[in-house]
Symmetry: C2
Subunit: 363 residues, 2 copies
DNA sequence: CGATCAGACGCAAACGTTTGCGTTAATACG
DNA sequence: CGTATTAACGCAAACGTTTGCGTCTGATCG
C-alpha cells in the first residue's frame, strides 16, 4: 500500500479510504489511486486489515463429515450465500470423538473467525459448554444444540407425519430405520424424529414393537443391513420409515435383491430430499436442505452486519411430503405369499403430491 | 499476550518464544507462562502472528461444486491431512462461469492463503494464465491444468482398460456415457478418458459409432437419460462404459425400469469407487479418490514446509478394476428377445476381483 | 472583505505478534 | 579471583492496515 501511496503522491490513509470507497477523498484522487493500485497489481493484505479493524471476514463451518449428501448440500448452500456476502468460509470436519474433543478443547477457531456454524453436529453437554468461549457468533443448522440460534425442520412433526401417512394407507405394522453416527452424543433430529414416530404410533393405537426399530452403525449399506434385519423377523412390518433417504436407498436395494415389491408388499418412506432417492422413486419428506443452508447463511450475514449478536433463536423451515410412489396400501392378508418380483411401481414421471405442511412451533 | 506477559512478569517476546517452544526460555519460566496462558484462556491472534511472519497458515480448496460425491470425497480427504498438518482450509465453490471468472479476476485468495488446490476444475486457458498472479503454490487434484503439479489417475489408461475389459467378454457394440459439466472449458479427465475409449476401440478393431457416445448435461438423472437415448437406438450397444459411477447408477436405474437384465442383456462399467455403486453392485474402476486427496494434501504440506516451491510435477495414483458383476459375456444373438425381468445378478457378497493395474506414465 | 464552514488530505497511534540484537547474570575455566 | 562463554530474557523495530484528529485550502455567506 505504501508503494501505491508513494506512486500516487498521497498518504496511505488516503489510499485506504479511496480503495474502500469511503468519503473524504476527492473524485480525481480516488480514480488516480485506483488506477495506480490496478497498475501495481496491488491486493490488500487481509491480515493487516483485520488486525487493524478487529474482524476476520471469515466464518467456520463445522460438520461431522463432508462425503455425505446432507452435509455437502448444507455446506454448499451456506458457502454460496456467505461468499456472496463477502465472507470466506473455513471448513472443519470433526469426524470421531477425538477430533471433536480436540476442537472444543483447543478452540482453534477462536479469533480465527467471526462466526461458527455447527452443521448437524452431535455434541456432548460438556463440549457445548465450551462453545461459550468461542468468542464468535455460534449458529446451528439442521438441528438444535443447547440454546444457540438454530435453523431446522420440526423433526417431531416429521416423525408424526410419516406414521400418519402410512397409517392412512392401512398399515398397522410400521417399522423405523435409524443409523447411529452420533457416538453417544445427543442429536436432536434423531431423538425428535424417533419421538414423533413413537408418539404417532401411540396416538393411532398401533403396536410399537421395539424389534421394529432397527439401528445400524453408519455406513453406505446401513439401510440394506437394517432392512435385512427387519425382513428376518417372523412377522416383518409392512411399511418402513427411514430416518434418511440414504437409509431408504439402501433399504430399497435390499428389497430389490430380496425380490419384494415396493410398494406392493412393502411401503418405504424416507427423509431428506436426496436426489438419488428421486432417481429411485422413493417417497420422502423433503426437508429443503438447501433452504436451510441459505437461511443460516443469511442469518450469519445479518448478525455480523448488525454487529450485535442478536439472532432469531428459532428458525423453522417447512418440509414437504413428496410422494413418488414407494408407499401404497397395506397388503390385504397378513401372511400373504411372496408377491411378484419387481421394482418400484412408479418408473418415471413420478407424481409429486407435495403435500405442503406448515411448520409447527418448537417441540 | 500483553496480559499474559504482565501476569507472568516477563516480556511479550519471552511469552511468544515460550508458547511456541522455541529455545531461549528457561524451563520454569516456560511452564509458568504456559500455565498463565491457560488460566487466562489466552489464544493467539492469527492475524497478528501471520502479519508478522508472512505466511497465513491457510490453504484454499477450489471446486466446481460440493454436493457431489467426487468433490466431497476429495475435499474431505484433503481437509483431514491439511488440518492434521496444522493448516486451516478455505473452500471456494466455483459453480458457473460467472463465479469462476470473478474468482480468477479478483484473485481473492491472493495473500489469503499459502497454497491453492484446484480440484477437478475445468478452466479456460485465459483463466489458467491468471493463476500465475496467485502468489501462492498452485496444485491440481483429480486431473491436469497447464503445467501445474498435479495428482491424478491415468485417465487414458482407464478408457483403454474399460474397452479391453468389455471386449474380452465378447462385446462388439460398446457405448460410452458422458456428462458435460465443463461449460466449454477443457477438462483433462473427460478428454483423456474419451480418447482412451476411442483409441482402444480402434486398436481392437471394434466399430466406433458416434451414436454410441452420448453426452448429457450434468444432473442426477443424466445417466438415466443417457441410457434411455442408447436404448432408443435401432441397434443399442450390449455394453456401456460410464464416465462416472454416478452416471452408471442412473443408467442402472433406467435399465431396471426398462426391465433389461444386467449383465445378462447389458453390461455396465463405471469409474470412481462411489459407495452407492458398491451398494448396487456396479463394476467400476476405483480411482481411489481418498488417496488422491491425501497425497495432494501431503504434497502441499511438504511444499510449504520446505519453503521453496518445488513439488513433484506429476503424481499418478493407481486405479483398480473392481468387478462386482455388472459386466458379463456379450449376449449370444444380436437381436435377442427381451430377457427375463430382474436386477443385477450379483445380489450381495459381491466378489472383488481387484485386478490391480499399475499406473502408467504420462499420456 | 472577513468570518465560517466543509471537504480533502496528512499524521501517527493503534492492532498483536515475531525476531534480531543487546544486556544481564550465571557458570566454567585458567 | 578475573575472564570468557553461554543461556535467559528484555527491548524495540518491523509487518500492513485502519481511523481519529488536525491542518490546510477553497468556497460560501452576511
Amino acid at each position: 500500500m505504501a508503494d501505491v501511496a508513494r506512486r500516487a503522491g498521497v498518504s496511505t490513509g488516503t489510499v485506504s479510504r479511496a480503495l474502500r470507497d469511503l468519503p473524504g477523498v476527492g473524485d480525481e484522487t480516488r480514480e488516480l489511486i485506483k488506477a495506480t493500485a490496478r497498475e501495481l497489481h496491488y491486493v490488500i493484505s487481509p491480515e493487516a486489515s483485520q488486525l487493524s479493524r478487529g474482524s476476520t471476514g471469515r466464518v467456520a463451518i463445522v460438520v461431522p463429515r463432508l462425503h455425505n449428501w446432507f452435509y455437502a448440500e448444507m455446506v454448499s448452500a451456506l458457502e454460496r450465500v456467505l461468499r456472496d456476502g463477502g465472507l470466506d468460509v473455513l471448513v472443519y470436519q470433526l469426524d470421531g470423538e477425538a477430533k471433536r474433543l480436540h476442537f472444543f478443547d483447543a478452540l482453534p477457531s477462536r479469533r480465527k473467525v467471526d462466526a461458527v456454524v455447527l452443521v448437524a453436529l452431535p455434541v456432548l453437554t460438556v463440549e457445548a459448554e465450551r462453545l461459550d468461549f468461542m468468542g464468535a457468533q455460534v449458529l446451528v443448522a439442521g438441528g438444535r444444540i443447547r440454546d444457540f440460534p438454530y435453523v431446522g425442520v420440526d423433526d417431531h412433526a416429521i416423525g408424526v407425519a410419516a406414521v400418519e401417512h402410512l397409517a392412512a394407507l392401512g398399515h398397522r405394522r410400521i417399522g423405523m430405520l435409524r443409523t447411529s453416527d452420533t457416538e453417544g452424543a445427543y442429536w436432536s433430529s434423531d431423538a425428535e424424529r424417533s419421538r414423533g414416530f413413537h408418539d404417532a404410533l401411540a396416538a393411532a393405537g398401533l403396536p410399537d414393537d421395539e424389534a421394529y426399530v432397527v439401528t445400524e452403525p453408519y455406513a453406505v449399506d446401513a439401510g440394506a443391513r437394517a432392512m435385512r434385519r427387519l425382513l428376518a423377523l417372523p412377522e416383518p412390518p409392512t411399511a418402513v420409515f427411514a430416518y434418511s433417504d440414504e437409509l431408504a436407498i439402501g433399504a430399497l436395494r435390499e428389497l430389490q435383491v430380496a425380490g419384494i415389491d415396493v410398494p406392493g408388499r412393502m411401503s418405504l418412506i424416507g427423509v431428506d430430499g436426496h436426489p438419488t432417492a428421486d432417481l429411485f422413486g422413493i417417497t420422502t419428506f423433503d426437508q429443503h436442505v438447501g433452504d436451510q443452508g441459505r437461511l443460516t447463511g443469511q442469518l450469519v450475514l445479518d448478525a455480523l452486519a448488525r454487529g450485535d449478536g442478536a439472532v432469531l433463536p428459532a428458525n423453522r423451515v417447512d418440509f414437504d411430503l413428496v410422494d413418488r410412489g414407494s408407499t401404497g396400501p397395506a397388503p390385504a392378508g397378513t401372511g400373504a405369499g411372496r408377491g411378484k418380483r419387481g421394482v418400484s411401481a412408479q418408473p418415471r414421471g413420478t407424481r409429486r403430491a407435495r403435500t405442503r405442511r406448515t411448520a409447527r412451533g418448537g417441540a
